[in-house]
């Protein structure tokens, strides 16, 4: 503004000076011309005075605005200090809570995994069903990752099975027959295998709650279904519950720098229970047959006095990829009836891999059950299974490189078989093979030969299964 005014003043003075100097060439100025010129100079002086006055007013206005801005800034600073003090006071009064587990929507994920099987069986001897498609199974696993710490997972098992086919060794617990084929000789079951919430508390501990697969050995968690290279479960797994309703803490800690680790899991679940709420080892069913009174699948409901406890501790040591050993010790203890009698189980599991081509794994299972009629009985059993992939030989022939040879020996002593008119001890040999159509589509075949005690005839059976994991 000042510059403008100065320019105007300078221009005016210059013009005036030029005007004064602009005398006619004749150097003759009349009075009339002088007066006009004088009047013009006076007008310009007046204009100059007005501009100077306006300038002073502008300066005053600028000063006033600056002062007002300073006051506003001071008020804003005071308000910020007041808000900060109020926030600090509120924080000191409110209980600290964990941060909300929010994540961007694009990080959420829902997906489907699982497996499906179709099984064909051919039973020898005097079996009622010689050859039949004994089972069709669809077992999806629903996974929903709510955020980086919370995972919901639920596994279902929908099975259409031929009732004439002996499924007594099926360790899929809790199956409820939803529809029946009646005299058609088949049944359809819909089984909730597990439904649990996993909360990753930190790097070393995960809280699990719900209907959980139990870490009694490793078979239920890591060996059943599609992962099993033979079409049926080991006999001794029928002594143990596969899942249970309760809570669990589990985790692991890496040891050293070669990938080895120490793993642990502790849990409490509704324990197994007596079918009729008594403490007898056996009872008569509706058909008058003597059957075992203990229901290991009772981990789901609780008909005894209080929940059971269990856990597993394991050690895994790899010395290079595909060469490793793992051993584990697990167990569960708890009452199984309202009389306070105890059911306990202990499991030793082991697995070894010697190259990508060979593996052996197995479990030893020991249980103790207090009864009032038989005292303490001890059902027990064990199994060992080996696999050898033919791709080891690198033969350039069709089919062979995609084949794995499998063999399992398993045995069970149910301790009361002689009372239930069945074999007390069963021993089974099962050679088989897996043909890998793809890495997820397998064709399994095996032959079972079972030797029974107590004069019960031996069984033999062919099993063929198409299995797909997704």
């Amino acid at each position: 503004m000042k510059k403008v005014i100065k320019a105007i003043v300078c221009a005016t003075v210059t013009l005036s000076f030029v005007g004064l100097c602009s005398v006619p060439s004749s150097w003759a100025v009349t009075d009339q011309e002088f007066q006009a010129l004088q009047k013009q100079v006076q007008q310009q002086n007046q204009l100059l005075q007005q501009l100077l006055k306006q300038n002073q007013q502008d300066q005053y206005e600028i000063q006033r605005l600056k002062q007002q801005q300073g006051q506003t800034d001071q008020k804003a600073e005071q308000a910020a200090q007041t808000a900060q003090a109020a926030q600090a006071e509120a924080s000191s009064k409110v209980q600290p809570v964990a941060a909300a587990l929010n994540a961007p929507m694009e990080n959420h994920n829902f997906m489907l995994a699982g497996d499906a099987e179709v099984q064909y069986t051919d039973q020898g001897g005097g079996s009622k069903a010689r050859g039949s498609y004994g089972l069709a199974d669809f077992a999806p696993i629903f996974l929903y990752r709510a955020n980086d710490k919370v995972l919901f997972e639920a596994g279902f098992d929908t099975t259409l099975s031929n009732s004439s086919f002996d499924t007594s060794n099926d360790t899929n617990p809790g199956a409820v027959v939803s529809t029946s084929g009646g005299n058609q000789g088949y049944s359809t079951t819909f089984n909730l295998s597990f439904a649990q919430i996993d909360y990753l508390f930190n790097d070393y501990a995960t809280f699990v709650a719900g209907d959980m697969l139990l870490p009694l050995g490793t078979y239920s968690e890591r060996g059943a279904g599609w992962l099993n290279k033979l079409a049926d479960d080991p006999l001794a797994r029928s002594l143990l519950p596969g899942s249970g309703v309760g809570v669990q803490v589990r985790g692991s800690k890496a040891i050293g720098d070669n990938g080895s680790m120490l793993t642990y899991a502790v849990y409490t679940v509704n324990g197994g229970h007596a079918i009729d709420n008594t403490s007898f080892a056996t009872i008569k069913d509706s058909s008058g047959n003597i059957v075992q009174n203990f229901d290991p699948t009772g981990n789901v409901n609780n008909l005894n006095r209080q929940p059971s406890e269990g856990g597993r501790i394991g050690w895994f040591y790899p010395w290079k990829p595909h060469y490793d050993v793992e051993v584990g010790l697990s167990g569960q203890t708890g009452e199984w009836n309202t009389a306070g009698n105890v059911w306990q189980a202990g499991v030793i599991d082991a697995a070894i891999h010697l190259s990508p081509y060979f593996e052996t794994k197995g479990e030893y299972i020991y249980t103790r059950q207090q009864t009032i009629d038989l005292g303490t009985i001890s059902p027990k059993g064990w199994w060992v299974q080996s696999g050898f992939k033919m791709s080891y030989f690198d033969w350039d022939v069709p089919f062979i490189p995609n084949t794995e040879l499998v063999f399992r020996y398993d045995t069970v002593d149910n301790a009361i078989g002689n009372l239930t008119n069945t074999a007390k001890v069963e021993r089974r040999f099962e050679p088989g093979l897996v043909y890998y159509i793809t890495n997820t589509l397998w064709l399994k075949g095996s032959y079972e030969k079972t030797f029974n005690s107590d004069g019960v005839p031996s069984d033999n059976e062919w099993l063929l299964e198409l299995s797909y994991g997704f």
Binding site: N107, N109, M111, A113, L143, Y144, R145, L151, D198, L200, F201, N202, D203, Y204, A205, T206, L213, R222, G223, W226, L227, V249, R250, G251, S252, K253, A254, G256, D257, N258, G259, M261, L262, T263, Y264, A265, V266, E309, G310, G311, R312, I313, P321, H322, D324, E326, G331, T333, G334, E335, N341, V342, Q344, A351, H353, P356, R368, Q370, N439, T440
Partner: protein, 100 residues
């Protein structure tokens, strides 16, 4: 006798729980960390950890079979199911995501 056996079972449970708490609190890690200081550390890659852990229970699953987001869910599931250490699970996840 019955009570004694039952108490023994509960004692074992408490012992296992204590081990879990110790591991969770990381005090055991101090001992292991001190042991590791005495020798040079070779860091396993995600590919090596994948080969070590995943084929123990099932056939190889190729990284291209799933999206990155799906692998994140799968590895979270497998970390719980197979009790994988957190650091190993993260490295395997990174390997699967970088190669899908």
């Amino acid at each position: 006798m019955k009570e004694t056996k039952y108490a023994l079972g509960r004692l074992c449970f408490a012992l296992a729980l204590s081990i879990g708490v110790v591991l969770s609190c990381g005090s055991g890690g101090v001992v292991w960390a001190q042991a590791q200081k005495e020798k040079p550390v070779k860091v396993l890659t995600g590919e090596e950890l994948y080969a070590i852990n995943c084929s123990r229970c099932h056939t190889e699953r190729y990284p291209t079979e799933r999206t990155s987001a799906q692998w994140k869910t799968i590895l979270m599931h497998m970390r719980v199911r197979a009790n994988l250490p957190a650091d190993q699970a993260k490295k395997i996840l990174k390997y699967m995501q970088e190669n899908n």
